[in-house]
């Protein structure tokens, strides 16, 4: 039986306004590690929800830049080329929070990244 988990890292600071500043003064980096999920869909939905919520929080404090969430699936599974070239063994997908204005220019400015991993039946991530 396969299992899945994810990690998420988000820069909370933008235009010198920390999205977290009221409760956690000075905090600019958020890093989370998920529990283990039994199936990919539940893991992906959780990861996407977290990244969407973080994006929403950042956009509230970001009057000039609008961020959006995008995703990529490891070409090993999708057989489609991705912008990311540094896929790790066991990594299934990535989600990004990035400045949507940069999308067309090809110079994507990401402030958040989440990685979904597949794990062994023992529940231990292949990468740790």
């Amino acid at each position: 039986m396969q299992a899945f988990s994810y990690t998420a890292s988000v820069k909370l600071i933008n235009d010198r306004i920390a999205a977290f500043d009221d409760e956690y003064p000075g905090v600019t980096d958020f890093n989370a590690a998920s529990r283990t999920f039994d199936d990919y869909n539940t893991c992906m939905v959780s990861c996407k929800t977290l990244m969407d919520d973080m994006k929403g929080r950042i956009n509230l404090k970001s009057p000039k830049i609008v961020y959006k969430v995008g995703s990529e699936v490891n070409p090993v599974y999708s057989k489609q080329e991705t912008i990311s070239k540094d896929w790790e063994p066991g990594e299934v997908a990535r989600l990004w929070i990035y400045d949507e204005k940069m999308e067309k220019s090809g110079q994507i400015h990401a402030i958040g990244q989440a990685r979904i991993y597949t794990a062994e039946s023992s529940g231990r991530p292949l990468l740790s």
């Binding site: 003064p25 980096d29 958020f30 590690a33 998920s34 959780s46 977290l50 919520d53």
Partner: protein, 154 residues
């Protein structure tokens, strides 16, 4: 006592209920899915401000968890390198290597740049671990620290 010439920052790790409560503020729907969270601050020029911000963050998480105070244990440790006080307290953090005559800093998990460590346990299980560190700099020789400490106390 030495005065660090570099800025400092803090790291805060929340586990269990603390991680869930922290994530619930940002993403309520995923709070139960997160095992641990690590927050990292920006650099502070003032270590007093950094200590205050770290303390406020810890207190905020503790307040949100609403765990009974009787189940919580808080351990705080300051690095005597950066505080005025008895030289013996600092000596307890040092280890003399007889083979090389080197003095090694073994306190604060072996990191001389750590100013403060806070551990909050819930019935013995880790809930919050926070660490405040200076950015690395050249630490003065032991003899200089002793001299500076004596001068501060005179």
């Amino acid at each position: 006592m030495i005065i660090a010439p570099t800025p400092c920052y803090f790291l805060l790790k929340a586990e269990g209920d603390a991680a869930a409560q922290l994530v619930a503020e940002l993403s309520p729907g995923t709070a139960a899915d997160i095992d641990s969270v690590i927050l990292v601050s920006s650099d502070f020029d003032s270590d007093i401000s950094a200590v205050n911000s770290m303390t406020r963050s810890i207190q905020h998480i503790q307040d949100c968890t609403q765990l009974p105070a009787t189940s919580l244990t808080t351990k705080e440790q300051y690095n005597p390198l950066y505080l005025p006080g008895n030289m013996e307290v600092l000596d307890e953090m040092l280890n003399l290597d007889a083979r090389t005559d080197n003095i090694r800093f073994v306190g604060m998990n072996g990191n001389p740049y750590t100013l403060k460590i806070v551990e909050v346990l819930n019935d013995g299980d880790p809930l919050i671990t926070a660490k405040l560190e200076y950015r690395p700099f050249d630490i003065p020789a032991y003899s200089d620290i002793v001299t500076a400490r004596a001068a501060a106390l005179n």
